[in-house]
């Protein structure tokens, strides 16, 4: 297994998260569930922003509980604040190579490849405030690519984009995942929209994974009443253009 969460526990006041989860290398897992279910907290635990009170997180068989975020083979995109506003897109991406921006020629090559893949070469010198929301998220994605880490965590980074841009970004993530053999976990409130990207989906509720399985089956035939209610609500309130 590439990623293993073995009886991981985390408490915040009275609220408790208890999760066991496995993921194969190169897979994409969609995390769905209502707000407050613990999806973002789970990503924070995997990325190292929070430390579990019990249990072990293993990546490639190695426990990573004690590792700082910078030393984990993980990169994460947040919903916002993925870029430093005072740095141009190129420097923001280059930070993924070296935190002091001291770039070797191979670093520059990597940046160039990532910028080409995300179609940002023409606007490399612009500041985040001077580009569109989609371009900002593409720059953040490019930085994740140059970080060259096998596990990519996406915490609703495309939620604020319009449906067409979201669709484009999902397609871009999918193609980059396949080209770079990335393992991806994506948090979403739009399960149907993410379905073509994610082979498996986990439904979280109140700090636990209630259902985990192949996306198509899980969405078509929910076993748990909570998931059923959640899907009924999301399907009633959102329409998808697939």
């Amino acid at each position: 297994m590439f990623l293993e969460l073995d009886d991981v526990e985390f408490s915040l006041g009275h609220w408790r998260l208890q999760v066991s989860l496995c993921l194969e290398q190169g897979q994409c897992l969609a995390l769905i569930g209502p707000s407050g279910a613990g999806k973002s907290t789970l990503l924070s635990l995997i990325a190292g922003f929070e430390t579990p009170s019990r249990g072990t997180i293993r990546i490639n068989g190695d426990p990573v509980n004690q590792l700082d975020p910078a030393f984990r083979p993980v990169t994460m995109m947040f919903q916002e604040n993925n870029l430093f506003n005072h740095l141009n897109l190129y420097d923001n991406i280059a930070l993924g190579c070296h935190p002091g921006l001291k770039l070797s020629s191979s670093d520059k090559d990597r940046i160039h490849i990532a910028m080409t893949a995300t179609e940002l070469t023409a606007i490399a010198t612009r500041l985040p405030a001077d580009v569109s929301g989609g371009e900002r998220q593409r720059a953040a994605l490019a930085r994740c690519l140059v970080q060259d880490r096998p596990l990519l965590l996406l915490d609703e980074p495309f939620a604020s984009l319009d449906p067409r841009l979201r669709h484009q970004m999902h397609a871009l993530v999918d193609s980059l995942r396949k080209a770079n053999e990335l393992t991806v976990i994506v948090v979403t409130h739009l399960p149907n929209e993410i379905a073509p990207l994610a082979e498996t989906t986990a439904f979280m509720h109140d700090g636990r994974v209630l259902e985990h399985g192949p996306t198509v089956e899980l969405l078509a035939d929910p076993q748990h009443a909570e998931l059923n209610r959640y899907l009924e609500f999301t399907q009633a309130h959102y329409t998808y253009d697939f």
Partner: protein
């Protein structure tokens, strides 16, 4: 991987120690200076007998006058600032408005002694107004010395400050409120009642307290315009005890009274200051106000703005004109002037450098306490320590350090260092209040991203923190540099062994009635102060 984990954990613990070290060092410097000064004061002060202090006619008179002039100055400054700020908020489009609002900041960086000279040139016995009145055959009635002069100078300094602090209140009013008022047909009076007053009133206590504290601890104005024992404040009484009566015990007693009063005021102040907005108020959108076209309001606004501009700029202009017409060659060929310039420059650069180091140390460690160790109270306490000099005025710390140097027989050595240190402590609250919130905001926004990218230590400071704080730090250092350059309080106290600074030299020239020379020195002082502000702001902040 496991051994790597242990290495990283050990590295994190080391980072924790290093991250707290700057704050600990800054705190040690602060406590040594302030604690040492207070300890020296306590060591020579007579045993404290509250009843005897209250019954002492001299102390009672000085304390009463200090409070009275501060209350009057605050009432006048803020009371006049309210309609002026409203006029500027209502007239958001006239040519030169931005420049005028910018220039309202001039008295903040202007050396007090220069402003006093300007006021003397306009409102003094031989000033412009009295000369015109005499020319027209009237009697010269206006006397600038005593309470009148003190109030006039305090209004000169604090009216523009209050306007600048109040203007952002109008920025908080949403455009929809003006549109709603238009549709309801609200009159100008009702606009004040229903829209403007609710927006201004939260700002008022903070503005009043800042102005009150500035007037309460005002030194140079009272020393030069007080005109005698009847108009003496605590700060001036401390100065007189040390310089004229050579009575450190009485100075210490007065310093303790000042300390008690200022601490009480500062405790209230700390609560209200965060309510003040950090905005210049240059851009206000008043397009949808329904009372814009009212001719009476328009005339009133224009009159208020013009009167304020004249009140503020005529004294500055008068100093300039007198300076340009003065004996420039003889003043600038005097080596004493350039030694004084050098001393003032060293004090300004030393004070800003020290204050910057102290503020950065405190703010970086406070951030680490809040976000990494999750100890928000400890973080707030550390920031509060940086504002401690609001409660302990420069004259108290100066008095303490004066006693220390006196007891050590070193009054002729280290004077400049002490003046530097006291000025650094005075600038510190402004610096820390501009750096700390920016650093905290940057942390909230970017901590996770920095952690993920391995941005820490010097790399993080260079790439993330410095770009965020360089503007506020440049502006605050610029103001601090100009204030230290033009400071006359502590420098006057230590003016014993010929270590005269430029403002003190100007004070001596005024005291010797060499007003023509004083005008030239004042122009040099003013130009250098403004240039220093501009240079520091540009070189650090841009």
């Amino acid at each position: 991987m496991a051994s790597r984990g242990r290495t990283v954990k050990a590295r994190s613990a080391q980072t924790g120690v290093w991250a707290l070290l700057p704050g600990a060092l800054s705190l040690a410097v602060l406590l040594t200076l302030m604690g040492g000064a207070l300890a020296a004061i306590f060591s020579v002060a007579p045993p404290i007998r509250p009843v005897a202090i209250l019954q002492d006619p001299y102390i009672g008179k000085v304390v009463r006058f200090t409070l009275w002039q501060a209350i009057l100055s605050t009432t006048l400054s803020v009371g006049l600032a309210l309609p002026v700020a409203r006029a500027l908020a209502r007239r958001d489009q006239f040519p030169g408005r931005r420049l005028l609002v910018t220039f309202l900041g001039l008295p903040v960086v202007m050396p007090v002694i220069v402003a006093v000279l300007g006021l003397v040139a306009v409102y003094g016995k031989s000033g412009l107004i009295n000369t015109w009145v005499a020319y027209l055959g009237g009697e010269t009635a206006l006397s600038l010395y005593g309470l009148t002069g003190i109030l006039m100078a305090h209004v000169f300094f604090n009216l523009p400050l209050a306007v600048r602090l109040l203007l952002p209140a109008w920025q908080t009013i949403p455009e929809e409120s003006w549109k709603l008022a238009s549709s309801l047909g609200l009159s100008s009076r009702l606009l004040v009642r229903f829209i403007e007053w609710p927006a201004i009133s939260p700002f008022l206590p903070g503005v009043c307290l800042i102005v009150f504290l500035l007037c309460f601890t005002s030194f140079a104005v009272v020393l030069t315009l007080g005109g005698g024992p009847a108009s003496t404040t605590i700060e001036v009484a401390i100065y007189q005890s040390l310089r004229y009566d050579f009575d450190p015990a009485q100075a210490a007693m007065l310093a303790l009274i000042q300390f008690t009063l200022c601490t009480s005021i500062a405790l209230v102040l700390v609560k209200w200051i965060p309510l003040l907005a950090h905005s210049s108020g240059r851009r206000i959108d008043a397009r949808h106000r329904p009372d814009l076209k009212n001719p009476i309001g328009r005339t009133l606004d224009i009159s208020l703005i013009l009167t304020t501009a004249c009140f503020l700029f005529i004294p500055v202009l008068a100093v300039f004109i007198q300076g340009i017409r003065g004996p420039i060659t003889s003043v600038i060929s005097n080596p004493d002037l350039w030694w004084a310039v050098l001393r003032s420059l060293l004090i300004a650069l030393g004070a800003t450098g020290t204050a910057c180091g102290l503020a950065l140390g405190l703010a970086l460690s406070a951030r680490f306490l809040r976000f990494s160790l999750r100890m928000p109270r400890a973080s707030e306490m550390l920031i509060l320590m940086g504002s401690l000099s609001l409660a302990i005025p420069a004259m108290i710390i100066g008095t303490g350090l004066f006693i220390v140097l006196l007891q050590a027989g070193a009054l002729d050595r280290g004077t400049l260092l002490v003046i530097c240190a006291v000025n650094a402590l005075m600038i510190l609250p402004y610096l820390i209040r501009s750096i700390a919130p920016t650093l905290m905001r940057s942390s909230q926004q970017y901590d996770r991203l920095c952690a993920q990218l391995g941005l820490r230590g010097w790399s993080r400071f260079r790439v993330v923190d410095w770009p965020a704080i360089r503007r506020p730090i440049g502006f605050s250092l610029g103001i601090g540099g100009a204030l230290s350059f033009g400071d006359m309080g502590v420098a006057a106290l230590f003016d014993t062994q010929g270590d005269t600074t430029l403002p003190v030299l100007l004070f001596h020239q005024m005291g010797a009635y060499r007003f023509d020379e004083a005008s030239v020195t004042a122009v040099i002082l003013m130009l250098l102060s403004v240039s220093l502000f501009w240079l520091i702001d540009r070189s650090v902040g841009r």
